[in-house]
């Protein structure tokens, strides 16, 4: 079980890509992939398709063997029964890695199993992603070798490994909607030629990956996987979700990827023992990744809440404390400074409740948030923006500016998780914050849940005497 870094590099950083099954006919997979490949990738592209002369400005070849230059990566979108032969040609050509999109292999029964074995044999050492997978991205070099249309944005540092194509892509797409940027993405399908532990190690050693995230249904070679997540969670946060907990779900999962299931308790234990943050579902995964990637890690469990709604703050406090965090009373000095500015009937204990005096929101929110940044009593700041405060653009803007000033200029290492409660017409304003990498969580539950899971990782590191600064480079701007 050797680790072949060079071959995995050929998947994410190929100098040249051959698309086997390229097509100029709209609607065909070969057309989608051609479009995606030519949308941002700057390396050499070789469409492989017998009849055509040229597709989208690139010379077509009948076979990889006809291509004069070396090929690092081959992407397969041809029918399953044709794949083994084409793979044999790739092996002859010296291709290093392959992404086989096509389905109809091990997940499709006995015939498919045989075909998959043939495919692996024909590969003769080529590193295979798939078969039966959605594809891969390296967003930072504009490489989209996947079914989903669109050029991925550059500048991301979260890498994502998913066992589900469609759901994985939904997670990816929806996060992008909120402004998440990714580094590398891989949907590895049937895992015929690559194991989970190899990808964990690759992302772990990759300087462009600062957060590793995974959506898993099953894991092969669990012991090796455990070893890698244990090792790398001490270097960067790892967030994972695993489905297939209940009997019904295990049945659905098994038919999907035909994997051998380990017991769920073993997975849970592996995540807990390694310090991997275990998200209960895909939505939580996005929430946590957003919070960890955009904001500093919390250095402690104490939350300071600012709000224009007392009731919401009570709910947020309830949930946070139930989930293991604290909402401590602020010190007398901090309270005094704030009490001077807020109405006499308002509270500065924590939560700081300015009451619904919307005319003063633009003045009071930054003042209170600033006070929390400077107070030694809190480690995490949760501003509640509810109804009017969320719908007033100038309020949202001053909140943003206050946070940026404290984090970037004053270099205060405290994360801000905004608790956002308003109708959908407020989403434009949410974007103002999210574009500035300030995460907004709709309603108190998601805010508290995200903070508690992120803090559980910090708690794990503390118990092992790992410096939070060493992991949290964002906190060291």
């Amino acid at each position: 079980m050797e680790y072949e870094k060079e071959k995995i590099d050929a998947i994410f950083n190929p100098r040249s890509v051959a698309l086997i099954g390229a097509s100029d006919k709209k609607g065909k997979m070969g057309h989608t992939f051609m479009k995606n490949l030519t949308s941002g990738y700057e390396g050499k592209i070789y469409p492989i398709n017998p009849p055509n002369g040229e597709i989208m400005g690139h010379k077509c070849y009948k076979s990889v063997l006809d291509v004069p230059e070396p090929i690092d990566l081959a992407v397969f979108v041809i029918p399953a029964r044709l794949c083994p032969n084409a793979m044999a040609e790739c092996a002859k050509k010296g291709v290093k890695a392959a992404v086989v999109i096509t389905s109809g292999f091990r997940e499709a029964g006995e015939e498919g199993k045989k075909l998959e074995a043939e495919l692996v044999k024909a590969a003769n050492g080529i590193k295979i992603i798939g078969p039966n997978c959605f594809g891969i991205y390296n967003c930072n070099i504009g490489l989209n070798a996947s079914m989903a249309l669109g050029t991925p944005e550059r500048g991301g540092d979260v890498s994502f490994l998913t066992q589900s194509g469609a759901y994985g892509m939904a997670i990816y797409t929806c996060s992008m909607d909120f402004g998440m940027k990714f580094a590398k993405i891989v949907a590895h399908g049937n895992k015929a030629g690559i194991e989970d532990w190899e990808l964990v190690r690759y992302f772990g050693e990759d300087p462009e990956t600062r957060v590793i995230s995974m959506f898993l249904e099953s894991v092969n070679l669990g012991k090796e996987f455990f070893k890698e997540i244990k090792k790398f969670s001490l270097k960067k946060p790892i967030v994972a979700t695993k489905t297939g907990r209940t009997q019904g779900a295990a049945r659905a999962a098994a038919s999907h990827t035909a994997a051998l299931a380990g017991s769920f308790i073993a997975y849970e234990t592996a995540f807990k023992q390694s310090g991997t943050i275990f998200a209960k579902n895909g939505l939580e995964l996005i929430d946590i990744v957003k919070g960890i990637d955009w904001q500093p890690l919390p250095r402690g469990p104490r939350i300071g809440i600012v709000t224009n709604s007392g009731g919401t703050a009570v709910e947020l406090t309830d949930l946070s404390e139930e989930m293991g965090l604290k909402v401590p009373e602020l010190s007398k000095d901090t309270q005094l400074a704030i009490k001077e500015k807020i109405p006499s009937y308002a509270s500065a204990k924590n939560p700081i409740d300015m009451t619904p005096i919307w005319k003063k929101f633009a003045e009071l929110y930054p003042l209170c948030i600033d006070a929390l940044f400077k107070s030694p009593d809190v480690d995490i700041i949760m501003p509640i923006l509810l109804q009017r405060s969320a719908l007033m653009k100038d309020v949202v803007e001053v909140v943003r500016d206050c946070i940026i000033e404290n984090q970037e200029k004053n270099k205060i290492k405290k994360p801000v998780y905004v608790c956002w409660v308003t109708a959908r017409k407020g989403l434009n304003n949410m974007e103002i914050l999210e574009k500035a990498n300030i995460p907004c969580y709709e309603w108190p539950y998601r805010t508290a849940r995200t903070a508690s899971l992120i803090y559980s990782y910090v708690d794990f590191l503390k118990r092992r005497n790992i410096s939070i600064d060493s992991i949290d480079k964002k906190g060291m701007m």
Binding site: N220, G222, K223, F226, A261, G262, S263, T269, A270, R463
Partner: protein, 231 residues
Amino acid sequence: MDKPRINAIFQTARNENRTYLMEHEVKSILKEYGIAIPREKVCKDVNESKQFAKSIGFPVVMKIVSPQIIHKSDVGGVKVGIDSKEAVEKAFEGIVFNAKKNVKNTEIIGVSVQEMAKGREVIIGVNKDSQFGHMIMFGLGGIFVEILKDVSFRLTPLEEIDAREMIEEIKAYPLLKGARGEKSVNIGAIEEILIKISNFVEERKEISEMDLNPVIVNENRAVVADARIIL
């Protein structure tokens, strides 16, 4: 550590087509790993039993020793709190009688006479997950594990921090630390056993299940009162 001796124990079981090791076999292995077991002896007859009981002091525990019997209590093969020579004699006969009555074709090697340890009961279990390999379980004995399912798990290999945290994690942990005026038990001794068991199963992939139940722990030490291994 006498590795050849341990290998021989496994080999004997395989030769006899047994998929499990008997209590005294497991205990001799545990001893090699430096894990405390009660003073005990497999006695062939009543006199030997009486003599040994006298030498270690009452009360004692007596258990059937037979390659066919793995669930000793279920067949009436265990008697505890034996506090006199007369009681030893009665227990010996009772145990052998029950064994012969309840289990067909038992080969009776003898009756194990063991010192009766005092303290809290904890359980340490090992099973093998199809993906992640050996996983260790910890909990307080009796209803805590069986009914309340108040247990913690860790995958091997265990680090010291894992052993410590898995003990602290269970809800009943305050009982170990000494609730209601009682003294704390020797938690370090439990941690030590967890680590040693982890080392042991890492070296013996053929073990599919292991049960140390009960491990009796008091403020001084932790002693494995009963144990079994399934291959």
